[in-house]
Point group: C2
Chain length 340, copies 2
């Protein structure tokens, strides 16, 4: 009897059982009660990770993170790390920066797996669509990709995936802005090399504009490098060159905050004279002035699903899966109606 059996009998994931065992507040009362009942019925005594580890060899799960600065990934990472420890594995973390790679992310992944002798890998972000299948022939461990594009052509013989529908999310976001009366809608993507989510999100943006017969203006599509500073600079340039723009949709909350600063510095009151829409649903957005309207990704659930799925895959209880989760618009104060 172990934590995975308890999870199975309770009809929940191992990460939920772990949260109940660790007295984590973030579990529904009925779920908690159910898990505790199963634990009691089974006379289950939780192992601590020390004991698990002493009786086994070191077992490693790798986590490969794209990009140096991404608080959305940081928040997911903490959930993933806790989950990995709870099932008696050790997390090996590796960040990489695509600019230094010429886009060869598949090689990074392969080296990581071979060097670190992993039992499984979770990749946060990245673009693995160009991977050559034969390079993966020797790799026998399960790989779960998350926060990558949902339509990327990946081979489910090689990978599992937990993600959102990036195109749909951006389509709905743009539609929301159009319905608020905006027509001069700019979008700020990450970077040009980001063939993952940026591509899909800009396609969703274009689809919505097209549906409402709003002409697509390529000057309205700019890059913000997924960080405050480049987003600030990019927004300043954009809004100076095209002052008719009434709203900017930034595909990360961090870029939205950087762009918001540019708006203030140019003399606009965000949420009154100009609108700003973010993406991710970071906690910081709630405390930003004005509170940031954003598209929330279910980061916590994505992280938990990654762990639960990876455990199943390692134990060969599941075949590779492609899990797509829902996003949600959080309306706060940074988007106003267009007052023409």
């Amino acid at each position: 009897m172990n934590i995975k059996d308890i999870a199975k009998l309770s009809g929940v994931g191992v990460s939920t059982v772990s949260r109940v065992l660790n007295n984590h507040p973030d579990v529904k009362k009925e779920t908690r009660d159910k898990v505790l009942e199963v634990i009691k019925e089974c006379n289950y005594v939780p192992n601590n990770s020390a004991r698990i580890l002493k009786s086994n060899n070191m077992k490693h799960i790798g986590v490969l993170v794209k990009g140096i600065f991404n608080p959305f990934f940081s928040e997911m990472l903490k959930i993933i790390e806790t989950g990995i420890n709870d099932i008696g594995y050790t997390m090996i973390l590796h960040h990489y920066d695509t600019n230094s790679l010429g886009g060869n992310e598949g090689e990074v992944l392969i080296s990581f797996i071979k060097e670190k002798r992993l039992q499984g890998v979770i990749c946060l972000g990245g673009n693995f669509s160009k991977i050559e299948e034969e390079r993966f022939e020797e790799i026998e461990i399960p790989i779960v990709l998350t926060s990558v594009d949902s339509h990327m052509k990946i081979n489910t013989k090689l990978f599992s995936r937990v993600c959102i529908d990036n195109k749909k999310a951006a389509y709905e976001a743009t539609k929301y802005l159009i319905e608020k009366g905006h027509e001069h809608i700019a979008i700020m993507l990450g970077d040009e090399f980001d063939a993952g989510v940026s591509n899909r999100r800009v396609m969703g943006y274009m689809e919505a504009l097209d549906e409402y017969h709003i002409p697509i203006n390529k000057d309205y599509i700019v890059m913000g490098g997924y960080d405050f500073e480049p987003a600030y600079e990019s927004a300043k340039k954009l809004l100076t060159a095209s002052p008719e723009i009434t709203v900017l949709f930034a595909i990360s909350d961090i870029m939205a905050i950087g762009a918001g600063k540019a708006m203030s510095d140019l003399g606009f009151t965000v949420g009154k004279e100009i609108s700003l829409l973010g993406f991710d649903g970071l906690n910081i957005g709630k405390y930003y002035t004005p509170a940031l309207t954003t598209i929330e990704q279910p980061g916590k659930q994505m992280a938990e699903d990654c762990i639960d799925l990876l455990v199943q895959l390692i134990e060969e209880k599941e075949a590779n899966q492609n899990i797509i989760l829902e996003t949600r618009l959080i309306e706060r104060k940074s988007v106003c109606n267009f007052k023409g």
Copy 2:
């Protein structure tokens, strides 16, 4: 000839050599030139970590992080992780939350070292002053503490430390506020169990008030839990109960941002009608409205010093050290003069 020899010959740390090798922009030109010259003279060919790892057993450096959400630590972690990889080690990361431990952080550290078979450990945050020396008798690996209090009674037979002078930093911050004309100065600490930095910072605050003959009001000392939400709630309660307060000094930028939202919600314009001072020097503070005045910790240098020192300790080239780095006041827009 390896990266450490190059570092020694160039008179810089291994992390600097690594940044030069990786073409990182953040190295002074003269330093870069010097390192490149030494590399050339020695005909040094950098190993990639794959080769190093294949020729050795896995070598692990543990990083133990206190607290679940702390962007200051996240920023340091990335530098530490890169540094660890560059010297051919693998980073094993573990977060822990003190609330679930009853404050027994020494035991967490001991288990971590034993379970993960580490060659060295870096601890970010935490309070190890109560550690019983005999519990550490079996531990022979080097331990570097960072972001802990500089005056904590620790045993340099057991630990090295890289930190700031927390009391002095808070004293200077409070003095700055007093010299801006403020007398009703509140301080927001982390949590009551945080015997590490909170204690020393509140002592610096009190020392400055005392020096200027300003009475210490214990209602002005509140807890903000190092996160947005508890800081928001705590600030709202504080400012409602004591409306005479003209400035809040929060000992983390994240708490300052949470408290700033409470100020806005209560109808104050931050930086005009009420003042707000942070601590850490996070990037986000620059893009906050109004831009956050804060005490900057040298997080990057702290991280680099940790790695450089740990390498020396692992190779038994150095005895334990206690490195104290300088903080710096960054004046932006969130603190104004008191207009009585």
